[in-house]
Symmetry: C2
Subunit: 256 residues, 2 copies
């Protein structure tokens, strides 16, 4: 027993970690590419002479790191990470929405996009939304919820809040906001966004969020809270977005 452990290197690191290290190195060296099936529990048991639980733990490590994902009954696969590149600044340029294109079309290019779970309603804003919009407690806002599904995979859901006194009679209160979307309508109402602030956080999802985004085990969400400011500094929209972190690279380009 002592001879066996010595022959395997350090005795401090658990066996399942050493197996996970070997698999990770093989993935990083390209021996297993995106979408490839990794060796199964039986393969690992035979190759490393370990118990099933050890083999399972090793595969669990890679899933927790987001490098691999289990598919029911089929095994564990290298995650096919083909993220959307979200160019944070360019996509919100006035030339984009001002010319009638949607902000989202800058991200999704030629891929098939479905917007579902659309819900548009007037409501009393809660405390954090009022604080972010700089309006008194209890102010009426229009809340626009929706989910984006790209090539069959849910990648993001979002809720926008806009002050009812600004948008109450506009297409912003409809499911379809028209060409150029919310920002084009705000511009027509005399409240064109001239400045944006995006705040980015990351954390593990709740069970409900994981379900809504069909997240694999061990996948965090990225939260983006965007505030759109009109001339004079008034906040005209808060947009709280929750993103599948495995589906996105966020890019910000700017000058020194």
């Amino acid at each position: 027993m002592i001879v066996f452990m010595t022959s395997q290197g350090s005795t401090r690191q658990p066996k399942y970690q050493r197996i996970a290290d070997a698999l990770r190195a093989a993935i990083q060296a390209g021996e297993y590419g995106p979408g490839d099936r990794l060796p199964g529990e039986n393969d690992l048991m035979a190759t490393y002479e370990v118990a099933r639980m050890t083999a399972r733990q090793a595969l669990g490590v890679l899933q927790n790191e987001g490098l691999a994902e289990a598919r029911k009954g089929a095994g564990v696969f290298v995650r096919a990470f083909t993220p959307l590149r979200r160019r944070g600044i360019q996509r919100l340029a006035r030339e984009q929405w001002g010319s009638g294109r949607s902000v989202w079309s800058a991200d999704s290019e030629d891929r098939e996009l479905v917007v579902d779970q659309v819900d548009v309603r007037e409501e009393e804003a809660d405390g954090p939304v009022c604080a972010a919009l700089g309006v008194p407690a209890g102010t009426q806002v229009w809340a626009r919820s929706r989910r984006f599904v790209l090539d069959g995979k849910p990648v993001l859901f979002a809720v926008s809040y806009l002050p009812a006194d600004i948008v109450g009679d506009s297409a912003i209160t409809q499911a379809d906001t028209g060409p150029g979307g919310t920002y084009a309508r705000l511009a027509e109402l005399g409240h064109a966004p001239v400045h944006f602030r995006e705040e980015i956080r990351s954390r593990m999802p709740s069970a409900g969020e994981a379900e809504r985004l069909a997240l694999s085990l061990g996948t965090p969400v990225i939260q983006i809270v965007r505030t759109a400011f009109a001339e004079g500094g008034r906040a005209v929209e808060i947009n709280e977005m929750t993103l599948d972190s495995a589906s996105y690279v966020l890019e910000y380009d700017f000058d020194a």
Copy 2:
């Protein structure tokens, strides 16, 4: 038994989820503030008449969501989330490093900062770094590694890569790069950064990363890869940063 389950609401949702929901609601309502101890396993067993494993699972849900963290032997506490606000664009403005201040000082303000695990060496760049710098395979680069510890908590580690043909004779090859840091030295060498691109991803940490950042269970890392471009578009630095997601809010401010 049927009566008991009915009295508890939906029978579809597992009991530990319902307990987690109640605790989460109490945290969000402010009944438990940052740093407060949550009810322990024994408290939950008595209050909800459940087994220890169910109580433990309920607390595990909140830890996995990053809302709470276990401290050995002391219980489970609401996470004290006092993040650093990293203002992505302003902190890299030429006025910042051009006047001899460090980029980092824009984030850390009055808090105590220790930089440790400093390692500066010349090496042959690997494939991804060569691709990002736009140099041939095998090009020599200076690699600068370090970790930032703020108020005793490791919050970030980073490795910068700079082409050796540019920086070989400068203070960039020393542990202390001098006032204004790497970017001020690059400017003196005639390669001042004029444009930056930051790419942001999030994923769960490897065991080594979790240890290096002293991460609680269920805390993702944020990865930022920054490329600094000089006049003419040459990439003069790649900086691969790994951040404790619980310690950071990333902010980007920009015009429409």
